[in-house]
Amino acid sequence: MSMSDLQPQLEYKRFNAFHRWMHFLGMTSFTVLVFTGMPLKYSNASWAQWSMDLIGGPEAAGLLHRVAALVTMVYFISELVYIGIYIVTRRGPLWGDNTIVWSRKDGQDFVNMFRWFFGKGPFPQFERFTYWEKFDFWSLTAGTVIIGGTGLMMWFPVETTKLLPGVALNVALVIHSNEALLAMGVIFIFVHLFSAHGRPESFPIDKVIFTGSIPVEHYREERPLEYAQRLHDGTLNDVLVPARTGATKHVGNVVWWIITFMAMVAAALLAAFILWTVVT
């Protein structure tokens, strides 16, 4: 019997409960928004009719879309409050190493990544957040403001035109639906689903956003610079937590497999539908 069987294994805590809740709310509301919105964008396609029937018609879709939009507003505002508290209490660095804010290193990493793609250099060493994770975060943030703003304009058209000309509503629709397609395609297929879950380091799924922690060895390989810095600063122990064991682990596993499976099938299905519409 080895030591690991007796002692609970330690894991590296990457996300706290707040992060995980934000991801869960974002994931669920985004999926609902996409599925209730895309049939309208592609209303000419044959799949639009039956998927709209499945949802319960345009009125039901409209209601679900607005409920999910409210959930989006709730998590977006929560995130702003969280960032505000983070800044005021200075719980961590805002600029410099290991932040979600862009730095020069991200540009270098991006270039080096393409070098690695063509076998012309080593795999870049990452800090806490890679450039695609930052892209993911900031484009989602920008997208939420853009899609949310234009969505509110169309939700309250009469109020909007008390301030703006009518053509603003035409422009709002074009922005809303295309920004949504961009968000769905780029963030959730290419950047998010692949780069978070499908990339070789985490395939078939990166559980960390659901469980909060990840085996230490694995994390050290993925984010060597953050690990090294914590080792250097002597703060490594702050982020080591016992791995989930027993029932908690199994229940957690089952739940995230179900959620992830559904989300992936849904995303793949809709991506295929839209591709089909664009091609045919």
Binding site: S43, E59, V158, N170, I175, N178, F194, R199, P200
Partner: protein, 291 residues
């Protein structure tokens, strides 16, 4: 079972079902004897066709459908005015057909007929004469199977009728939220005739038009309480891909089309290359050894 017996059985079944149909039809509405005489010939499926305006039309009228229609109790000659009961020529038939498509409607629906007569459709119809491609009553409402207009089916068929001539306009209508939700199962969403009116359609530059600058705010206000000038300047018919419709809408569309193409390409390359290099270096296999 022999062939003879099975044929006899089918014949019996056929007779029974026909009897049931006739009974069902006559139970609700007692048709005038006159119509029965018309149907002696015009219920026959093999009656043949007549050429009207270069279009071949069937001379057969389904008595069951006619009786079930809104006009099921009206005499055939109530609409086909001037019909004479002797064997009739094709020219005469054409006349009776046209009468039934517009003129006769005014007998009962005088108010609507007057509005129609003043509309673009009515004026064009009067100018070009019968047989021209201007919509008359029957174009939208149909003839022998005429139905009430407050049904989903009728609203849908009416939009189709509009688009048979105004294809471009209905195309841009279907790009709006009104059109999209109408098409996908919300038939009470505003459609062509809710804004342009059904019978009094006039060009937007006519002050009496429902969509003229004088009236359009009130027209929007039918659904959108508090609608104002700005609200009504919303472009209902705009093709985002055509800069002549609206430069700003086109620019927005073009910007996003470019952005999406670039981002999808870049995202696609990044993902495919990441996958390719990861596989080549055995990273997918190493990952599993960790678990």
């Amino acid at each position: 079972m022999s062939v003879g017996r099975s044929r006899a059985l089918s014949l019996a079944l056929l007779t029974a079902s026909f009897a049931a149909l006739v009974w069902a039809g006559s139970a609700g509405a007692q048709m005038s004897d006159q119509n029965e005489r018309c149907f002696e010939c015009h219920a026959k499926a093999d009656l043949g066709t007549i050429m009207v305006d270069g279009e071949e039309r069937s001379l057969t009228v389904d008595p069951v459908a006619y009786r079930a229609s809104q006009h099921g109790l009206i005499d055939c000659t109530g609409c086909h005015i001037g019909f004479k009961p002797q064997a009739h020529t094709e020219a005469e038939s054409e006349d009776w057909l046209y009468t039934a498509r517009t003129t006769a409607c005014g007998t009962c629906h005088g108010d609507v007929a007057a509005i129609y007569a003043g509309s673009t459709h009515g004026q064009e119809h009067a100018k070009r004469g019968e047989g021209a491609a201007t919509p008359d009553c029957a174009t939208c409402h149909g003839s022998h199977e005429i139905a009430t207009t407050d049904t989903i089916a009728f609203r849908r068929s009416a939009v189709d009728t509009c688009s048979s001539c105004h294809g471009g306009r209905s195309g841009t209508y279907l790009d709006t939220y009104h059109g999209k939700s109408f098409a996908l199962g919300r038939p009470e969403a505003a459609a062509c005739f809710d804004c342009h009116t059904a019978h009094g359609v006039l060009p937007a530059d006519d002050p009496n038009s429902a969509v003229s600058s004088q009236n359009v705010v009130a027209t929007c206000g039918k659904c959108h309480a508090d609608a104002n000038d700005n609200f009504s300047s919303y472009l209902v018919h705009v093709n985002a891909k055509d800069p002549r419709d609206s430069v700003i809408v086109f620019m927005t569309y073009a910007f996003y089309a470019t952005l999406i193409a670039v981002m999808f390409t870049l995202g696609g390359i990044h993902s495919v290359m990441y996958f390719y290099r990861g596989r080549k270096q055995g990273m997918y296999r190493r990952r599993h050894e960790h678990e």
